[in-house]
Symmetry: C2
Subunit: 182 residues, 2 copies
DNA sequence: ACTATTAATAGCGACTCGAAACTATTGCAA
DNA sequence: TTGCAATAGTTTCGAGTCGCTATTAATAGT
């Protein structure tokens, strides 16, 4: 038996992600594009701009712009400019894009062979590591809307106190840029 | 409380790797080069060729060649041709390369804030997922020499029955391409 | 109105990626 | 021994990411 040290865990995470990505190259999307597609499929309507995508994935706005344009050209996303702030663009998944974002990967299959208990532990450990890294980078959490300080339950349903808008049940389960756990 | 499903775990792994990589861009190395450097720092003398690097990282020989040449030009690795098989090249870390490969990353810091028990569990879960993915891809394990079927303890020290060579203590702790767990 | 800030974009050079073609060396078998 | 297949490494191609540095447009603050 040997010590599971920090370097080994880091290497495992990187290798897993890399092998998973390597599979993702098949098809006409590369790993970055696939990750963006997946993010857009989970994000709420306030969190689908190039800036949000860039911050979530730890890349630059420049790359986000290019990748999203590429996705748009391939027909997986459609752009929509905001009426309120004309600088803001929101990228919505098309039907094709939604299908693509749900295609299974080898890593998912591997994870599903774990027991429920193991999965929960795994998720918790990854989440913990992620929050730690984000704190160090001053990055945003991008947690779920319903796990947010500003999330409230009014008599009409879910409500966001920060943006002062009513939400659908689905939206409460989505990723939000503004999410602050508390 | 909600279910920790496969997709979320996959996304967490990918995001962690991505944020970790994003930091890796600082300096004159990119994430792939850094990963290769890290691998070479842990691999034994039989596992340092472009092919091995490519297979470990799930990329192609072409990319491995280019990246290693780039690392060589920057002075982090040195190439050495094998006497036995003149096709084979082995890339050794230089002193500068060894320093660079040990520079800490935010993800390592995050992992080290976990308890020893958590780290062990984390490591085990990641290892399990990795073996599963590798099995699906028919990929090699690249485990440690000393955890191998062919590893033996002779009166002179560690010994590899497959390659019929004697090993140093250090080498038994290194990554080996030929490793088969048993 | 002037200014600072913010969102998105464009261009540059270095690089990764898959894929395919290519060279050199080795191994096997007739 | 000669011939051929397999293997190790390289090269080239086009598409695309990445950090970086402008640049444009819209918004916010004074």
């Amino acid at each position: 038996m040997w010590m599971a040290n920090e370097t080994h865990i880091r290497d495992l995470i990187n290798r897993l992600a890399r092998l998973d990505s390597a599979q993702g190259w098949t098809g006409d999307l590369n790993p970055t594009q696939l990750a963006m597609l997946s993010y857009l499929g989970q994000a709420n309507r306030f969190s689908k701009s190039p800036s949000h995508v860039a911050e979530y994935l730890g890349t630059t706005r420049g790359t986000a712009t290019q990748s999203l344009k590429s996705l748009q050209q391939k027909g997986y996303v459609a752009e929509r400019r905001s009426e309120v702030d004309k600088r803001v663009i929101s990228y919505e998944l098309t039907v094709t894009g939604r299908e693509m974002s749900r295609s299974p990967a080898p890593l998912q299959a591997a994870v599903s062979s774990l027991s429920t208990k193991e999965r929960q532990t795994f998720h918790q450990l990854l989440q913990s590591a992620l929050l730690d890294v984000l704190a160090r980078n001053k990055g945003r959490e991008f947690g779920l809307c319903k796990n947010c300080q500003h999330h409230q339950e009014s008599n009409k349903g879910p409500y966001c106190a920060l943006l002062d808008v009513e939400l659908t049940r689905d939206e409460a389960d989505q990723i939000c840029y503004e999410q602050v756990s508390g």
